[in-house]
Every structure is written in structure tokens, then in C-alpha cells.
Symmetry: C2
Subunit: 168 residues, 2 copies
């Protein structure tokens, strides 16, 4: 799923992509803090806020777990701020590919090809770029023999170089 926020004029910033196992919507306030929609087939467990709060009530260990999730997400959000504010288009794309690969590896085990179920527009809105810049950067990375572009995925031909671009 893609998680995003919109500006009044329609500009969109994707704040994250959710994969199986992820926990969404921790905002305790009445309104959620972002929108979400499915990119592919999705199975979700939905809890009403009130009953979930009640369920947690006398399970402090669960609350601690949730808190850890929130803190980890916060840390990721801060990493993404660095990317949005201080990295070039090429660094952004490389960092995205490496980070996305690492998440997929954790789910499905190692693989040289990285599935990209989201559109170029989604990637652009995640990285603070335009669709054209994303496309051009993919092409450039392919010319440089860093990746191979396949429909719906990319192949990491030179992971070391990609990781160097994403460094830190």
C-alpha cells in the first residue's frame, strides 16, 4: 500500500509504502494523519480504535511493542527527511532501490531482482521528484550498468555501486 499526504492543490507526498506485516494508523487522534490505498491485492486486519485501545489497556507488553514500532517509524521518517532535503536525484533513486530491496529480502529472502509494484509516479512522489526525473535516472543507472530495467521490477547488476550511492 502507499501512504501519502496531499496538499490542497493536489501535490502529493508519499510518506511510505506498507508491506505485509506492517502496522498502520497509530494516530490516536480522531483523524488519521495520512491517506492510504492499495497498490496490489491486500489483506488487512482492521480494529476499531476504541476496542483496540481497550484491548491494549491491560497488556503493557503490547503497548511497549507498539511504541517500539512508532519509534522505529519515526527514525525511518527522519532518514527520509535527509533524503528529501539533502540528496540528489540519483542518490534518491539508488537509496530507494537499496532500501526497498532490503525490505523485500527480509520478507522473501535474498533475490537479485527487486519487484517494484508501485508506479513511477508513486516513486516520484515518494522521492520528491517528477516522474520524468525518475524515469531518466532509471535509464541512467541502466546505462551505467548498475541496474537492469524489467517490467515491474529492476535487477541490481552492481549492488555495491548502488549501495555506495545510497551511502549512509
Amino acid at each position: 500500500m502507499r501512504l501519502y499526504k496531499l496538499l490542497p492543490d493536489g501535490r502529493r507526498q508519499i510518506v511510505g509504502f506498507a508491506l505485509p506485516g506492517d502496522f498502520l494508523g497509530m494516530a490516536t487522534s480522531a483523524r488519521h494523519s495520512y491517506s492510504a490505498d492499495a497498490i496490489g491485492a491486500v489483506a488487512v486486519c482492521r480494529f476499531s480504535k476504541a476496542s483496540f485501545a481497550r484491548f491494549i489497556e491491560d497488556r503493557p507488553h503490547l503497548l511497549r511493542r507498539i511504541n517500539e514500532l512508532a519509534v522505529r517509524e519515526l527514525s525511518q521518517a527522519q532518514d527520509h527527511m535527509v533524503l528529501l532535503g539533502r540528496r540528489s536525484a540519483e542518490e534518491k533513486v539508488a537509496t530507494f532501490l537499496i532500501g526497498w530491496r532490503d525490505r523485500l529480502v527480509k520478507l522473501n529472502g535474498p533475490s537479485t531482482t527487486v519487484a517494484l509494484p508501485m508506479s513511477r509516479q508513486d516513486i516520484a512522489d515518494f522521492l520528491g521528484l517528477t516522474i520524468e526525473t525518475v524515469s531518466r535516472t532509471f535509464t541512467k543507472l541502466e546505462r551505467d550498468r548498475v541496474i537492469g530495467i524489467l517490467p515491474g521490477s529492476v535487477c541490481l547488476l552492481d549492488p555495491a555501486r548502488a549501495e555506495a550511492m545510497a551511502a549512509a
Copy 2:
């Protein structure tokens, strides 16, 4: 205080500014997720992670409170991602001024002038801009009679217009 992350080559992204009453360093992992240093005089309460964790242990209400703080910070981080990824220099500066003013108002009560204890470089690194662009944008807002520039602060001459630029 300014809270920031550095890239290996020295580029800096400030992820937030801390004001009196703020709670820092929720990361439960061994390492903190960001660096922090004081801009002005500071009084801090420091807790060792282990003993603070023990203190919270049998105070679920406190843990819930901490969790709310983490979730709120996460939401703010996501708002800032929108700013970094999708807003122009002028929008960034206006949004920063309005947001900073609102935080100061909550602490000190209403005021037409907004104290800016941080340097232009700090503001630039917070907004994903360069110091020159921040300076030019301040000047432009002053020419447009939106703000007045004073040493160490600005005066919001036309808050409505500034808020319009920061919209949403």
C-alpha cells in the same frame, strides 16, 4: 536545541528544533537516531535509558503518554516530508515561520514578533535549502510586506498572507 542528521560528506538535515518541555531521544535501541546540540542556554533532565525503562515498567499510563508523543512526532515528521518533497522555497520559509510562531505562542502567549534563535544556516538545513536561498526568500517576503526582518527575529506584518502561503 537543534536535532539533526549528517551524511558522510557533511551535508546536514535538521529534523527538528526542541523547545522547553520537549522530550528527546525515544529511540530504544543502543544508538540514538539523531544528534542534538544547544542553540542557546539549555536546562535538561537526563535519564539513563535502563533506569527510565524500569521506571516506566509499572506505569502504563506514562508509557501511553510517551507513545502519544512518539505518534505526534511521527505525524509532524510526515508533515515535514511533504514540505521537503513538494514545496517551493517561499512556501517552505512561510510554513516554517508560521509553524515556529505557533510553537512559541503556545509557550509564551501571543506575540506579533517571532524570535529566531537559530542561524540562517540552521533554517536552511531544516528546510532543505541553502543559506543564500533562505536569505533571499526572507528579503523577498520583506519586500512584499509580509514580514519585517529584525536581528534575531522577524515581525509578521501580514500573518494572513503568510498562512496562505503555508496553507495546509
